[in-house]
Amino acid sequence: MKIMVAIKRVVDYAVKIRVKPDKTGVETQNVKMSMNPFCEIALEEALRIKESGVASEVVAVSMGPAQCVDTLRTGLAMGADRGIHVEATEALYPLSVAKLLRALVEVEKPGLLILGKQAIDDDCNQTGQMVAGLLNWPQGTFASKALDVLVTLTINYEKMEFNLLMLFGLVKVHWQQHRGIHSELQKVVLDKEKQVLTVDREVDGGLETLCLDLPAVITTDLRLNQPRYATLPNIMKAKSKVIKKFTPKDLNVEIKPDFEVVQVTEPPKRKAGVMVSSVDELIDKLKNEAHVI
């Protein structure tokens, strides 16, 4: 199974952003950019699944201006096998990104697509759900516990049926053994292949567990894992990994937003508060000034 991970280049989470004076947006020139923190978690999870032997390859995908290649290199340094950059100069919104992702899924045929639950710049929380809808795949949003991927195989070999429930890596070994032994017969038919994924989702009021048939779309919440750091040797190795380029035109996706940003403003400032010196003063203020207790 191949896993595709979508990663986004955003203003670093620690940067205190500034709204442009002409209200057209937020200042992004000369501002530190990084991989969206939720995307790091998504990539980490894909790498862990690969390391457990269930997946064979992790493909990182990013969309946007030329600088997205830097973000992809970071992903490759973390351990992704190769990258895909969809170069787009115009602003991309979740619907366009979802359409581009669908087109890439049709090219790459991954068994699992993992995204962060939201990007910390536009705070939309839409892309994963939208691409799942476009692909008609099941979705596991806000995943917060390590994903459990199981592969059930029913192998119909002449009249014998083997029901195997095990990790994909092991199944692959068995499968090759069968093929090796009976290679001259060529009658081993993969009758039914059912791959299942269990996901724990963070929902209001608790944790919800779902079981999804693969292929599926997963979006990651904060607590899914702790992303690894790229080591220096891996950063060097990442330089020789392949990043394939596409344009939206190559993928037959037309970018036309159906909404426009009228203006971006600073939120209203709270009026300055007062410092109190004792608990008594605090209770008095809350009671007699603010009237909240």
Binding site: P94, T141, T198, E208, A290
Partner: protein, 352 residues
């Protein structure tokens, strides 16, 4: 209660409306629990009301059994702004799975041709509405905090450090999720029985089964609590890393009990395992806007402020006089929370 088909429904709602026409009709995607419509769903109705003066609001409730029927009856009789209640009664909708729910809303939208579809920005609405939008090939607008016009909305970006005003210009319906705290629910007057909204069953005979089998609900591990719901509480008491351990966090719970408040936490407190993660307040947790927000041992990282800075009165108690939380606090007290909380517990008046 006669079951009417969606075709008949369409006739009743009227001709196909386009985004250019002024006629506004809204489908509110409702949630219910224990025979009651959820408060967050009523906020979505409030938001729908502010789209236009003569908005015709249909409320969709789906699920099965007596809980659904009770919720529908309450919605129809007690909320004058709801002009119609649509009920989709099937076991398929017992659990909030995105795949069948999105198909359902898509089906209703295709026949009802609403100009707007609104849900609240909880984990339910955020999970489902973007999927519906993709099926309809439109961009959804999530986490709306202000409705300026039927097609102009304000939503926070960059963890609430900027507000973006967007104009929806698409030809299709406008799909919104709205922040409950920005659309408070007006008190209900129980004398509106005269104008009871009709309840219609959604015809599910054409409901496509193909996408239903792809996901299955296994379980929900819920955090049972007697305290008020964090999202709607009048008072919220929050603890951060300054509490040091889960044992000390009990002081926050005691204080919350005394104030009749909900308990919140910062990401640091959740990650350290003091409390479960559904108590997290912030950009990626819950967004609250209570009358009183008390933060103890909270430094005030921007991601946390994003979830609470619309609170009416903010109180911060922190050892560090330079903590950013004091910049948004109405009342700040520099001190050791291990001394301040016990003193507060002792001196606060008993709640009414």
């Amino acid at each position: 209660m006669a079951s009417i088909t969606l075709r008949a429904l369409r006739r009743r709602i009227g001709p196909v409306s386009t985004s250019n026409s002024r006629s506004i009709s809204t489908l509110v995607v409702g949630e219910h629990e224990g025979g009651k419509v959820k408060l967050s769903c009523l906020s979505a109705v409030e938001a729908a009301k502010s789209l236009s003066k003569d908005n015709s609001i249909s409320l969709l409730l789906a699920g099965s059994g007596s809980s659904l029927r009770e919720a529908a009856a309450i919605a129809a009789s007690r909320h004058p702004s709801v002009s119609q209640v649509l009920v989709a009664d099937s076991d398929i909708f017992t659990h909030p799975l995105a795949e069948p729910w999105a198909k359902l809303i898509h089906l209703i939208q295709q026949t009802g041709n609403y100009s707007h579809v609104v849900a609240s920005s909880g984990s339910f609405g955020k999970n489902i509405l973007p999927r519906v939008a993709a099926l309809l090939d439109v961009s959804p607008i999530t986490d709306v905090v202000e409705i300026s016009d039927s097609h102009i909305f304000v939503r926070p970006i960059y963890a609430g450090n900027a507000l973006s005003t967007v104009r929806y210009s698409g030809a299709g319906p406008c799909l919104l999720t709205v922040r409950s705290t920005s659309f408070p629910v007006a008190p209900i007057f129980d004398d509106s029985k005269s104008k009871e909204a009709p309840i219609s069953q959604v015809d599910l005979s054409t409901f496509s089964e193909e996408s239903i089998g792809k996901s299955r609900y296994v379980k929900l591990a819920s955090q049972e609590t007697e305290r008020p719901d964090l999202g709607n509480a009048r008072v919220v008491v929050t603890g951060g890393r300054g509490l040091k351990n889960a044992e000390n966090f009990k002081m926050i719970e005691k204080l919350a009990e005394k104030l009749g408040a909900a308990v919140g936490a910062t990401r640091a407190a959740v990650d350290a395992g003091f409390v479960p993660n559904d108590l997290q307040v912030g950009q990626t947790g819950k967004v609250v806007a209570p009358e009183l927000y008390m933060a103890f041992g909270v430094s005030g990282a921007i991601q946390h402020l994003a979830g609470m800075k619309d609170s009416k009165v903010i109180v911060a108690v922190n050892k560090d006089a330079d903590a950013p939380i004091f910049q948004v606090a109405d009342y700040g007290l520099v001190g050791d929370l291990f001394e301040v909380i016990p003193e507060l517990l002792e001196k606060l008046p008993e709640k009414k």
